[in-house]
Structures are given as structure tokens and as C-alpha cells.
């Protein structure tokens, strides 16, 4: 008799946990449906102030080298600029199509969405819109300019060269990405001095501005 009761208790516990999980799954499916969730403006402002809304180029470089799978890097520039040069692992979803059905279909709600444009502005605006739709959206700090300035520019010609350790790390990163992502044809030029030929890449003196806002 006692054995029977214990068995009932176990079955009850099993039923309860399955039911709770089913409710959770259902709620998660509904909550993550197409509707836009409310965005807490005060909390968002705090996140922006604490710089939790973006990823720095250094972090991005590390994620790429670690082959992390938990992010999606989205290039929101027009396709021709993307074809000219883009950050490794990036997918091109131009801003004009990002919020169309075809664009949103490419974004995972389970991954960090890191957006970048040429500078910081458009990506940050798109990031807010995506957050309102319930995505874990981030923007890459200073966009492709920031990436170029702090990863791809040789430390020696930067306006704020890093300390010796940082210098070595910066050099390693630059060499890794120069090797893996140099534009395809006709650019055997030494990567040290010449950025890939492109209308997108700003002139060198502008790059020296480093983290300047654009």
C-alpha cells in the first residue's frame, strides 16, 4: 500500500513537471511569435549607457576566431558594398530588406544578432527596432570603420597605438583577418599599407581617428 502511494507521488511529480515544461514551451512559442514585445525604455537607456548594446571590434574578432556559433553577424549595407569587403562570417541583409519578411526570416531569436553598417548610426537604429521585436540585438561599435580602425589598421600608424602586449595582439589579429578575408581577385598588394581597393573603405587619414563617432 505504501509502495502504491509512493508510486502515485512520483507519477504526480512527473506529470507536474511535464505539464509545467509544456506550458513553458507554449508560452515561449507564443511570446516569440511575430508580435512586437514592449521595450522598457528606461532599461534600454541604461543598457545603452552601460555600453551593453554593442560589441567592440576586438570582441567580434575573438568571437570569429573562436568559431562561436551563438551569434549572427549581419551586414546591413547595400549588397555591392558587402561584395567589396565584409567582416568574416557576416551575412548581408541590407537595411531596406531587414524588416521585410525575407529579412526577418534570416534572423534567429536564440542567437545574438550583431548588426553593422558603414558607421555606427544605421546599425544602432536597426538594433533598437530589432530589440523591440524581441531579438537579442547588438551593434558593432563604429561599424566597418571601427572594425577597420582597430583590427585591420597596423598599430604603428594608429593615432593611439596600443601598449606592447596590445600591440602584439593587434598585430596577430590583423594578420589573421588580412589572410582570411582579403578581397578575392587582383589584390595581391601587401596588406600592411594598402586597404582593399574599395569605395567603402575610407582614406587612411580618416581611419586614424580610431573610435571617433561617425
Amino acid at each position: 500500500m505504501r509502495f502504491e502511494l509512493r508510486l502515485a507521488g512520483k507519477r504526480l511529480a512527473a506529470a507536474v513537471i511535464v505539464l509545467l515544461a509544456a506550458v513553458l514551451a507554449l508560452a515561449a512559442t507564443i511570446a516569440k511569435g511575430p508580435g512586437a514585445g514592449p521595450l522598457d525604455a528606461a532599461a534600454t537607456a541604461q543598457a545603452i549607457d552601460a555600453e551593453r548594446d554593442h560589441v567592440t571590434p576586438g570582441e567580434m574578432a575573438r568571437w570569429i576566431l573562436e568559431k562561436r556559433q551563438d551569434y549572427q553577424l549581419i551586414d546591413i549595407r547595400p549588397a555591392w558594398q558587402f561584395d567589396d569587403y565584409h567582416i568574416p562570417t557576416a551575412t548581408n541583409v541590407p537595411l531596406t530588406t531587414l524588416f521585410a519578411e525575407s529579412g526577418l526570416k534570416q534572423l534567429s531569436r536564440e542567437k545574438k544578432i550583431v548588426l553593422y553598417g558603414f558607421g555606427a548610426g544605421h546599425a544602432a537604429q536597426a538594433q533598437l527596432l530589432l530589440s523591440m521585436k524581441g531579438y537579442q540585438a547588438y551593434s558593432l561599435r563604429d561599424g566597418i570603420e571601427g572594425w577597420w580602425g582597430s583590427i585591420m589598421t597596423p598599430s604603428s600608424i594608429r593615432s593611439d597605438p596600443p601598449d606592447p602586449t596590445g600591440y602584439r595582439q593587434a598585430k596577430q589579429l590583423r594578420e589573421r583577418f588580412m589572410g582570411s578575408s582579403a578581397p578575392a581577385a587582383g589584390t595581391s598588394a601587401p596588406p600592411l599599407a594598402v586597404p582593399p581597393p574599395s569605395t567603402v573603405i575610407p582614406p587612411k587619414n580618416k581611419l586614424k581617428l580610431g573610435r571617433g563617432c561617425s
Binding site: A14, Q46, A47, Q69, S108
Partner: protein, 206 residues
């Protein structure tokens, strides 16, 4: 609400909470019988599925609880630390830990529980843990390269499978409950099977 709620407590409260949680964790491990090496290793001979049942229960209860906390907005999941995955070293490390578990009769947590209730073999086991940590520390530079191989970053099942978190939680709970059912079966009606293929039956003198 922008941090997993730890940040909203002072350090003292946080430490006291950790102490309390640790105490109850140890207490309930002891209550589950996990201070006995015989009981623990029974799992590996398919004699006693307590380890699977207790640990898997803890996992699904915590998982569903965290799911609800996140849904209610009490916990910001994006601020929760997810340990990065390094496939190869973690595979080898897991096998090593399992082998040590079978040979020594404890896992690190249960050895502390057993020591707390005065088991001498557990003290030797803990000595072994520290020797192992020391040897690892000394030799690690020799295989540092291997130690970071197969890096996938902080990967979770929903991201890896590209599925909704709620669906993954439900699937794991169903797998767990099925495993509980199967293990109860093998301890009861299927004991003959377990005795034949898994060594001596529960309660049988060896």
C-alpha cells in the same frame, strides 16, 4: 531588471546565500544516499539508478524553474554566464572524470559530502583531487594547444539545434521522465535482465 538577480544583493548577502545553498545541496545529496561509494557506483553496473534519477531531477527542476523566472522577467538570461564549449578537451575530460568516478567511487561533490559524514575513503579521494589538480597545473603548458581545441564559444542546446528554448526544455523533460520510467522498470520488472547483463542485482550479496 538588467542582471541575473545576484547583482541586486550585497556581497555579504550573496556569500550567505551561497553558504545556505551549498549546505542544502550537500544535505540533500546525503539524504539521497550519495555519501556511499557503493550506492554511487551501482549506477555504472546498472544496479541502482539513484544517481541518474536524482541528478536528472535536479537538472529538469532547475531548468523549468529558470525558464519561468526568465519568462516572468525576474532573470535576464542574456546576463547568465554560459561556459564556453571546447569539444575535444571536454570529451577527454569527461571520460577521465567518469573513469575516476568508477575507480574512486565518488565524484568531486559527493566526495565532500561523504567526508562531511566521516567516510575515510572520501578523505583519500579528496587528497587525490588535489594531487590531480596539482599535476594538471604543472603539465598543462604541455597540452595547452589541445586544451582550447574544438572551440565553439558559449553554446547552448537551443542555439546549436536552432530551436525555441521552450521546445528544447520540454524535450529534455520528456527524455528525463522516460529515463526515470525505464530505470524504475530495470530496477523492478526487468531486474532479471539487469542481473544477467549488468552484474549482481540490487540487494544481492556478492
Amino acid at each position: 531588471m538588467n542582471a541575473p538577480f545576484v547583482a541586486s544583493f550585497s556581497v555579504t548577502v550573496f556569500i550567505l546565500m551561497s553558504l545556505g545553498l551549498g549546505f542544502f545541496f550537500g544535505f540533500f545529496l546525503e539524504r539521497a544516499g550519495f555519501s556511499s561509494a557503493l550506492k554511487l557506483t551501482g549506477q555504472f553496473y546498472f544496479r541502482d539508478f539513484s544517481v541518474l534519477k536524482v541528478m536528472f531531477t535536479a537538472i529538469i527542476v532547475a531548468m523549468v524553474g529558470i525558464g519561468y523566472f526568465a519568462m516572468m522577467g525576474w532573470l535576464d538570461m542574456s546576463q547568465v554566464f554560459v561556459p564556453p564549449a571546447f569539444v575535444w578537451p571536454q570529451l577527454v575530460g569527461g571520460l577521465l572524470l567518469g573513469a575516476g568516478f568508477i575507480v574512486g567511487g565518488y565524484c568531486p561533490g559527493t566526495s565532500l559530502v561523504a567526508a562531511a559524514v566521516g567516510k575515510l575513503d572520501a578523505l583519500f579521494f579528496i587528497g587525490g583531487i588535489f594531487i590531480g589538480i596539482f599535476l594538471f597545473g604543472v603539465t598543462e603548458p604541455g597540452f595547452a594547444h589541445f586544451n582550447v581545441s574544438g572551440s565553439l564559444g558559449p553554446l547552448t542546446l537551443p542555439v546549436w539545434l536552432n530551436l525555441n528554448t521552450g521546445i528544447v526544455v520540454l524535450a529534455i523533460v520528456v527524455v528525463a521522465v522516460t529515463a526515470f520510467w525505464a530505470s524504475e522498470m530495470s530496477e523492478g520488472p526487468w531486474r532479471l535482465f539487469a542481473r544477467t547483463y549488468g552484474g549482481a542485482g540490487e540487494g544481492e550479496k556478492r
